[in-house]
């Protein structure tokens, strides 16, 4: 079955339930329409809402993430620049002065003073030899003569030529960073210049980020030791509690839940120059995402309102529509009943009128016979005409019998006008109906052929309505045939539950088009007369009795109506 077919069937199934009893029918229709409309409106709405939410979420995230990333990156660059500057000046000093010049304390002091004027944050400056001994020192600490050979930085600077330390607590418990450069000079000697940097500048740099209350920016080293004080995560040299990405990478932003159970967006930007530092900027997701959350709750609110509005409107609409349908149905039912009734009455009326018409002839005969007798007595005094008179009287009596039979038929018919279920012999009913049309058949030379099965099982039905059905169809057959046409009526037992009657004529027949609409109300092929309801009502009666009517016709050849009736009637709402 094609999908279109399936779809049509589904919709039809939802909206069409003619076999349900009335009260249920409208309840079910209402429910079905309601569900259908709700689905049609809410599903797309939901899909749209979900898609928008998704899109917004990712775009907002981008809007949030990117500035974060950028800021972190910028700050990282600032730090890098800072370090590079300091390193650069120390390198310059190392390159410009000789070992001897630098090992001279007074010289070193002079150089250092000049340095301090130009560059901020340098705390000291010192020369260290290959053996790791501090040969000269300018600064506040007592480093002169100190041996660094065992320290890891010394090893590192020997290998790498540059060194930037992690933050350490210097003397006086302030955080410091040490930088060192190495220059190889003739004779295989080393010239190592070391300087300590005061990290207060770090805080300034971070302060210049102009962060808000929900943000926290700081440096950590690759081992996760906090290098500048963090608002959320600890002081200098505390362990950074959040797992962070290792290795080398560009600036990235990750989502993490911190130990205080806050959802954070954390940007990491490892400094690329020679140090172990990673710039960290942590911001509370809720704060960052506040605009998103506001938007989302607004959207949710709007969605909820929409859904509620839709449901209310659909409910009201469905109610109104179904009520209209119900009203229309009821009106139609009423009008139909009215027409059905009129049809019934008028067919009875027609029969009665037909009877009145029929009685005429026999009465005319009686009249003439009696008149003749009178004449004979008046004109011809030969009362020997005994046989003659007796003959005349006999004729009168015969005519009286004829009238009697006709009126008896009418009486029987008049008596049976109430609806009641009786055991009907269809053959007998058909023949009775035909008796009303005898004269017409005679006048028009219409051949009536009856193949009525003997012992046709009786059916339980309403006599009046069955009469209406057959009278209507047989009347139509009479109308369809020309004079000298033929009408064949057959009755048989169709199956164990059903009886069949067919009425076939060799009249004008019907085209395919007409055939399709033949049972439609108000469809008529008679130009002036006829409401077009005869067959519609007939069909309705047959259906109501639990039976069916089928038609076959060929234009120019004839028509056959076949009526199927159940042996046990299933009468719906009574007439």
């Amino acid at each position: 079955m094609s999908s279109k077919n399936l779809w049509t069937r589904l919709i039809k199934g939802l909206l069409h339930n003619s076999d349900d009893d009335t009260a249920n029918r409208y309840r079910i229709l209402r429910r079905n329409i309601f569900i259908l409309m709700i689905l049609i409106t809410i599903i797309p709405l939901t899909i749209m809402a979900v898609i928008y939410q998704h899109e917004y979420q990712s775009s907002i995230k981008k809007e949030i993430v990117i500035p974060l990333q950028t800021l972190t990156n910028k700050t990282k660059h600032t730090f890098e620049l800072f370090f590079e500057e300091r390193l650069s000046v120390i390198r310059f000093i190392a390159a410009s002065y000789s070992f001897e010049e630098l090992s001279d304390q007074k010289n070193l002091n002079r150089i250092f003073e000049a340095l301090m004027d130009e560059y901020c944050c340098l705390v000291d400056l010192g020369l260290i030899n290959k053996k790791g001994i501090q040969l000269s020192y300018s600064g506040p600490y007592e480093f002169l003569g100190k041996n660094y050979s065992k320290q890891s930085w010394f090893q590192e600077v020997i290998v790498k030529g540059n060194y930037i330390s992690d933050v350490f607590m210097g003397y006086r418990q302030f955080p410091h960073v040490a930088i060192a450069v190495l220059r190889r000079i003739e004779g295989g000697r080393y010239l190592i210049l070391r300087s300590t940097i005061d990290t207060s500048k770090f805080d300034d740099i971070i302060a210049s980020m102009e962060l808000d209350q929900e943000s926290d920016a700081f440096l950590i080293n690759r081992d996760g030791i906090i290098q500048t004080s963090s608002r959320f995560y600890g002081k200098v040299l505390d362990k950074y509690p959040v797992p962070f990405p290792r290795g080398n990478y560009g600036p990235i932003v990750v989502e993490e839940t911190d130990p205080q159970n806050r959802k954070m967006l954390i940007a990491y930007a490892p400094l690329t120059t020679r140090s172990d530092y990673i710039m960290v900027l942590a911001k509370q997701r809720s704060a960052l995402l506040k605009p998103w959350y506001t938007l989302r709750s607004k959207m949710l609110f709007a969605f909820a309102i929409s859904v509620v509005t839709i449901i209310l409107v659909v409910f009201k609409l469905t109610d109104t529509v179904v009520k209209r349908v119900k009203d229309a149905d009821e009106k139609r039912e009423l009008t139909y009943r009215e027409f059905q009734h009129t049809h019934k009455l008028s067919s009875i009326g027609r029969l009665a009128a037909g009877v009145a018409h029929e009685i005429n002839n026999p009465m005319a005969i009686i009249n003439e016979k009696a008149g003749l007798m009178k004449d004979l007595v008046a004109y011809d005094n030969q009362f020997q005409k005994k046989e003659k008179f007796l003959g005349l009287i006999d004729s009168i009596l015969k005519s009286v019998e004829r009238c009697s039979a006709i009126t008896h038929r009418l009486l029987g018919f008049a008596r049976r006008m109430e609806v009641q279920l009786v055991e009907l012999d269809l053959n007998e009913l058909i023949q009775e109906t035909l008796s009303f049309l005898d004269k017409e058949a005679l006048y028009r030379n219409i051949e009536l052929i009856l193949h009525l099965t003997d012992n046709l099982p009786r059916i339980s039905s309403d006599r009046g309505q069955m009469q209406q059905v057959f009278l209507n169809i047989i009347n139509n057959a009479f109308a369809a045939v020309e004079d000298e046409g033929r009408i064949t009526i057959t009755s048989w037992e169709e199956d164990s539950d059903t009886v069949g009657v067919s009425i076939q004529d060799n009249g004008i027949g019907m085209s395919e088009e007409i055939l399709k609409s033949i049972f439609d109300p108000f469809f008529s092929t008679k130009q002036e007369n006829g409401t077009g309801l005869g067959l519609a009502i007939t069909y309705g009666i047959a259906k109501k009795m639990g039976g069916d009517i089928k038609v076959k016709s060929k234009q120019g050849e004839g028509t056959i109506f076949t009526v199927y009736l159940p042996k046990k009637a299933k009468i719906g709402s009574g007439e």
Partner: protein
Amino acid sequence: MNKCAEKEVAFFGRITADITHELKNVLAIIRESSGLMGDIIAISPEAIIKHQEKMQNSLVRIKDQIERGVELTDRLNKFAHSTDETMAKIDLQETIEQLITLAQRFARLKHVVLKTVPPNQEGPPITLVTRHIQLQMALFASLECCFTVMSAGGEINIGIRKTKGKNTVHVVCKGDLPSQSEFVRNISESEKWPVLQEIAACLEGSANLDETEHGIVLRFPEEISR
């Protein structure tokens, strides 16, 4: 509306049955008259002369009955045609006259005479657009109400009058009747009174007891809604 419709069929059946019964009577008389003549003839040709008068009487009777039969079938025919359309434009006076002929037999059984006098007004006949059979039922039910209250030898007159610009049908009883108030009570309590009310409702009209005369006043709209 369905209730109205159901009763129409019953009414039709009743009237038709009634006419048919009368026809049967007609036929019976013809039968008897012919039988009598047959008997006389059977005796001898001379007997015919001897009983000439009886013979002639029989013939006259037959002729009369044929006339009657013809009249009855006319009535049946007209009545049958009132079912052609449920709603029709009908001539009120004609319907009254028709109904009276239809009800004659019933009236005769109660020893009451039915009469109608056409309204003495010039101009077109008074017509109503209404349910033809129901209207006849209304008139008939009014008669039935009166029958239950009247004694033998009375007379009922059905006529159209114009009251306050509206046409009304007055069913007036004459004869040996109780006082106005008792008459009113009797009719209101009669079996057919609620039936009449129902029918009047189906016609969107009303049936009330006359305040001045012994009778029933029927009011119907000129055109009833479908």
